[in-house]
């Protein structure tokens, strides 16, 4: 529902300098943490490096040209695929969980919400190492399967694309659950009853009423999972064993790894950022067009 916003008179009552003064903290924060880093990256991306990996400030488009090398395009495509798979799996897993949480009685809601957030209490790296302990050749899962004679030899679970996706899904699932829960919780139960009343079975009422009305939550969840998943490097490093490098690994490698080519890393990051900004801008424009 849109609430018509009246043009406010309030801001006109403050003198101009005072308004700027009130905005100053926000402006300082934005410059320090958003604008400045982006500018540094931008400047780097047009620079060169010397033999020691130091940045030499010139103006070249060489870095951008290199980014479109098939090697990097395939890495980019793989990242896109992994992130998409992660997002899709998260959405499928998150919906029932979020829905059950929204349907639960209030005291249970809070408890379930806490359960979803408990993983955040331990370091992300520790949790990833825990998965390694479970999945490695002599790990817990293989041990259990061998012990029960389900398998004869240890399965190769770790350092596979599956392991990377598993790690990504595990890391980002709560970021999908929470926004969907937020939308589902606001859904009037009478709407679902109305759908049943008008002849919808459980699936139809989900497709025709629940899904459309929780779409904002799903969209927010997709953004919150897809964007970090595509840039993730730690999980692909640890659980993929550097066999399946993602774009995040390539960029990381340029800055702190062996490649030591900060200008090229910066160029990859800028391209990346531009893609996201464009996608977000288009998405936002569509959302606005729908409201209008």
């Amino acid at each position: 529902m849109t609430i018509p916003v009246q043009p406010t008179q309030g801001s006109a009552q403050l003198p101009r300098p005072a308004r700027w003064f009130l905005l100053a903290p926000l402006a300082v924060w934005l410059v320090a943490f958003v604008v400045a880093p982006a500018l540094i990256l931008l400047v780097y991306s047009f620079s060169e490096r010397d033999e020691l990996g130091r940045v030499v400030f010139t103006f070249t488009l060489e870095n951008y040209a290199r980014a479109f090398d098939p090697v990097y395009l395939s890495v980019f495509g793989r990242s896109l695929g992994y992130a998409a798979a992660t997002t899709a799996i998260c959405a499928v897993l998150a919906y029932p969980v979020a829905w059950c949480m929204a349907q639960a009685r209030p005291p249970w809601r809070d408890r379930l919400l806490l359960l979803v957030m408990i993983p955040f209490w331990t370091s992300f790296l520790i949790r990833t190492y825990a998965w390694i302990t479970i999945l490695k050749s002599e790990g817990l899962l293989n041990g259990l399967l061998l012990y029960t004679h389900t398998i004869a030899a240890p399965l190769e679970l770790l350092y596979t694309p599956g392991a990377v996706v598993l790690g990504l899904v595990y890391a980002y699932l709560p970021f999908m659950i929470l926004p969907i829960y937020g939308s589902a919780e606001k859904l009037d139960p009478a709407l679902i009853e109305a759908a049943h009343d008008l002849g919808c079975g459980p699936w139809q009422s989900f497709a025709r009423v629940v899904l459309p009305l929780t779409r904002p939550g799903l969209a927010a969840g997709v953004m919150m999972v897809f964007v970090p998943a595509i840039g993730m490097f730690a999980i692909s490093d640890l659980m993929g064993g550097a066999r399946v490098p993602l774009i995040g690994n390539v960029i990381q490698d340029q800055f702190v790894g062996q490649a030591r080519d900060k200008p090229f890393g910066a160029a990859l990051a800028v391209i990346f950022m531009l893609i996201f900004v464009t996608v977000y801008w288009l998405w936002q424009r569509r959302a606005e067009a729908r409201v209008a």
């Binding site: 709407l191 009343d197 008008l198 002849g199």
Partner: protein, 397 residues
Amino acid sequence: MSATVELRGVAKRFGAVVAVDDVSLTVQAGEFLTLLGPSGCGKTTLLRMIAGFETPDRGAVLISGADVTHTPSHRRDVNQVFQSYALFPHLSVRGNIAFGLRMQRLAAGEVEQRVAEMLAVVALEGCEERKPHELSGGQRQRVALARALAPRPAVLLLDEPLSALDARLRQTMQLELKRLQRRVGTTFVLVTHDQAEALAMSDRVALVHRGRIEQVGTAAEIYDRPATAFAAEFIGQANVLEAEFIGRGAGGVDLRVNGVGELRVAAAAWLGDAPRARIVIRPERIRLEATQPAKGMRNAFPARVEEKIFQGAQDRLTLVTPGGLRLVATAANAGTGEGSLRVGDSVWCAVYPEDVVILRQPASGEAGRRAQEIPGGPGSAEPGYETGGRASAQGAS
């Protein structure tokens, strides 16, 4: 006439709370029946059982003769108008009205035609493309009606459909709803706590109290012949008095009412051999005279005006008899001239024998329990006052 909805001894409890307790009710085809009762009486649970949102613990629900007790709501030939309307916010008026039709897999042309038909019925032509949030409260209500009627259900259920509207619009919608029901001929079952709404619209009223049906009948039947003290007090205002049987006379029975004296009551039969019962006299059936009626006239007694409340067309009076009994009566607004009663004036009250209703001994429920609590000794004028006072409070709300 055939039964469209039949409840057979249905019961439902939520935890320790008995919401519905052994209710049987039949709604005839084409009838407008109202489930009337205070909040928490179980009327909404009854409606939800018909809709299929609740399954009764015991008993059966039949719709058009078929047992649907365990049929989910989407397979029942029933549609509901929700209290909050529950219009789908992401769909236009057209999308909302067409929703049920699309679920019935009607052809697109047929859907279009029915939507147009329903829009005409609820006078919303031209609003097809609007979203629910762009409509006024009254318009949303009409969309909800159209959406529920479009699939042509055997029964239309209405859960307090007018409660969200302001008083003026509510009265208009009452008439509209009644007219609509006559026009489409669908069986309507409406739930409300508003007695005025029930009286204005229904063919029959089922009065629900504490999970049971207290009385079923036309509004006039319940008003003129209430079966229980609750029925008498919930619909309109009532003086509920304790009476003692003293004998039979010509055309009725003679009772003694504390604070009033002897009353002859036109009754075909007394309640078995019970020595006491409760009677109801409606305030407007107490006829007020300035002077004493002819000597020897029965059912006349003096009283004093203790309180007078202006209500527009009439004044509501609280009268006190010399015996200390308080009664509520009404007097037509006679202006400020002669004949208008003032506080402190003495009046004579007269009651026709046929205007007194003897309540059947309540079998259970609040009325029964209250009757037992009332001390039976002489001089206990308090019960009559108490119930009268409560009745006026309800009438004023």
